[in-house]
């Protein structure tokens, strides 16, 4: 279109600016692609629930089959119906919840102490090379030790007390927490470190804004593993170290065995399993949430 008006050049320039903006937004829209179809909550729940329900059903059926085959007398190995009756009966009692509360209090306190100690030791080892040379492999060695090994020493040191149990719980869990943090710090991508340098991060700011957040996924898996170790150590501890007057889950298990109450004993085992699963679900939820936000996992 031929134009000779003096104002004309401004208009094409503005038009070109808009066209450039359109190209950018258009490309962005194309690259982000179509909308993802979100599954309904109920459908998603069912998809993850049915294999679990099926697995439970198979285990119970196999158990029932073994009971019906009478490989063991019924007073030693009772059937699922009897055990679930027993479980139903005990969960309505105050003693049951007292035992769960006592054991969980020990578990949580022991785990938290292990997290604090593991984090401090892990951060120190990851930061100071001589310290790593000195105790780096010791931490991994401790991690592989069965925690039950520590009980004789713990009982000598602390007698039959809460401290003996805590000692073993902490020594079981802290190395995993420390190692999770150490490998998280070791594997911070080099490009992130360079960006940190370019942005002028130094000293504490570098830890706060880069190293610690960057090592979070590895730290969370260290926590998860640490929890598993502390829970196992605690169960072993409650069976071995009977603190007078403290009627924990472990004590209940032992007394069920002493009274030959097989149904009650199995009911308590199921309780321990359920608590383990519940905590694992919580850790997985935290882990999945982190992965989703970081884009390490499809939503």
């Amino acid at each position: 279109m031929p134009t000779d008006a003096p104002a004309a050049p401004a208009a094409p320039a503005a038009a070109e600016r808009n066209a450039a903006a359109d190209r950018v937004t258009g490309l962005d829209a194309l690259e982000l692609g179509g909308a993802t179809d979100r599954e309904r909550l109920a459908a998603r729940f069912w998809r993850s629930a049915w294999p679990k329900l099926l697995a439970v059903a198979i285990v119970i059926a196999a158990w029932q089959a073994v009971v019906l085959a009478e490989l063991k007398p019924a007073y030693v190995l009772p059937g699922p119906a009897e055990v679930f009756d027993e479980l139903g009966a005990i969960v309505t009692t105050g003693e049951f919840w007292d035992a769960v509360r006592l054991t969980m209090t020990r578990a949580v306190i022991g785990f938290l102490l292990a997290v604090v100690i593991g984090t401090v030791v892990g951060a120190a080892v990851a930061t100071f090379a001589p310290l790593r040379a000195a105790i780096g492999s010791l931490i991994t060695g401790l991690q592989t030790m069965p925690s039950i090994i520590w009980f004789p020493l713990a009982i000598l040191l602390f007698q039959l007390s809460e401290s003996a149990i805590m000692f073993v719980v902490i020594i079981g869990a802290a190395p995993s927490v420390a190692n999770g943090l150490i490998s998280g710090i070791d594997y911070v991508p080099r490009t992130w470190l360079r960006v940190g340098q370019v942005l002028g991060m130094r000293g504490i700011a570098r830890y706060r804004h880069l190293i610690l957040p960057a090592s979070l996924p590895s730290f969370v898996s260290g926590l998860k593993q640490g929890w598993a170790f502390s829970w196992r150590s605690l169960m072993a501890g409650e069976l071995l170290v009977i603190v007078p007057g403290a009627l924990s889950i472990g004590v209940r298990l032992q007394s069920a065995r002493e009274l030959n109450e097989a149904a009650l004993l199995i009911a308590w085992i199921i309780v321990v399993l359920l608590i383990g699963i519940l905590i694992d679900v919580l850790f997985n939820a935290a882990d999945n949430n982190l992965r989703r936000r970081w884009g390490l996992k499809q939503p």
């Binding site: 903006a21 982000l32 991508p189 960006v195 960057a214 970081w294």
Partner: protein, 249 residues
């Protein structure tokens, strides 16, 4: 002419010691003036990235003088390297926070910078929700947030597809002009260098030396597929080919 923003005089960079030492840069002299867009071009092993690291202060020179006179420098990489634990806006705000900018001002300035790179409306997204080109624009906004006197770019569009790269060339040119930036841009793509640069500085390989310095006089905005760009690119490519063949023996 005013004093250059960045000036290198006979700068050398050696890695290692003694007989095994590798000379990455040899007697490189280069001046970048305020508002200039300089492209550094070379084949593999010419030490282009080394040179940027030296200017950015990530590495120390082995000889010569490097003068940036206390000026602030920012560096962008081929990877956007955004932090996944922060939102898009959070990534830009972090650069401001590390400069001691207050919270309210950070939010305001980050929104402004996202506007500059045309990512208004993406402030609360996570980096993984964006495309590669968009992430690179966030990285640019983060660099701008440093309010540096010189922006160093190390093959920032190297990992992008041709269409995205073409559009980002336009964007970078626009932002360079609007924000009065001084850019030192490293690439191995000859047309990209001619498309963007006021000057194209050609480096030899192993060791890196400046072998020529081309003024690109063509008016802006340029198109990467225009005849003028292609013609100068062909001349530069010939120089580069000759330089590469030198290493055959």
């Amino acid at each position: 002419m005013t004093a250059p923003v960045v000036s290198l005089a006979a700068v050398s960079k050696r890695y290692g010691r003694g007989a095994d030492a590798l000379l990455a840069l040899d007697q490189v002299s280069l001046a970048v003036h305020k508002g200039e867009f300089v492209c550094l071009l070379g084949a593999s092993g010419c030490g282009k990235s080394t040179l940027l690291s030296l200017v950015a202060g990530l590495d120390e020179i082995s000889g010569g003088t490097l003068d940036i006179d206390g000026r602030r420098v920012s560096l962008m990489f081929q990877e956007a390297a955004l932090f996944p634990w922060l939102t898009v806006s959070g990534n830009v705000e972090l650069a401001l926070r590390l400069r001691g900018v207050g919270r309210a001002e950070r939010r305001r300035r980050a929104a402004e910078l996202l506007d500059v790179v045309r990512l208004t409306g993406f402030a609360d997204k996570r980096p993984h929700e964006l495309s590669g080109g968009m992430r690179q624009r966030v990285a640019l906004a983060r660099s701008l947030a440093q309010d540096a006197d010189v922006l160093l770019m190390d093959e920032p569009f190297g990992a992008l597809d041709a269409m995205t790269r073409d559009i980002l060339h336009d964007e970078l040119e626009r932002i360079w002009r609007e924000q009065n930036l001084t850019v030192l841009f490293v690439t191995h793509n000859v047309r990209e260098a001619v498309r963007l640069g006021d000057r194209v500085v050609l480096l030899s390989s192993r060791p890196g030396r400046v072998i020529s310095d081309f003024e690109v006089g063509h008016p802006r905005p340029r198109r990467i597929d225009s005849a003028e760009v292609a013609e100068l690119a062909a001349t530069i490519t010939d120089r580069l080919r000759a330089e590469v063949s030198r290493h055959a023996h």
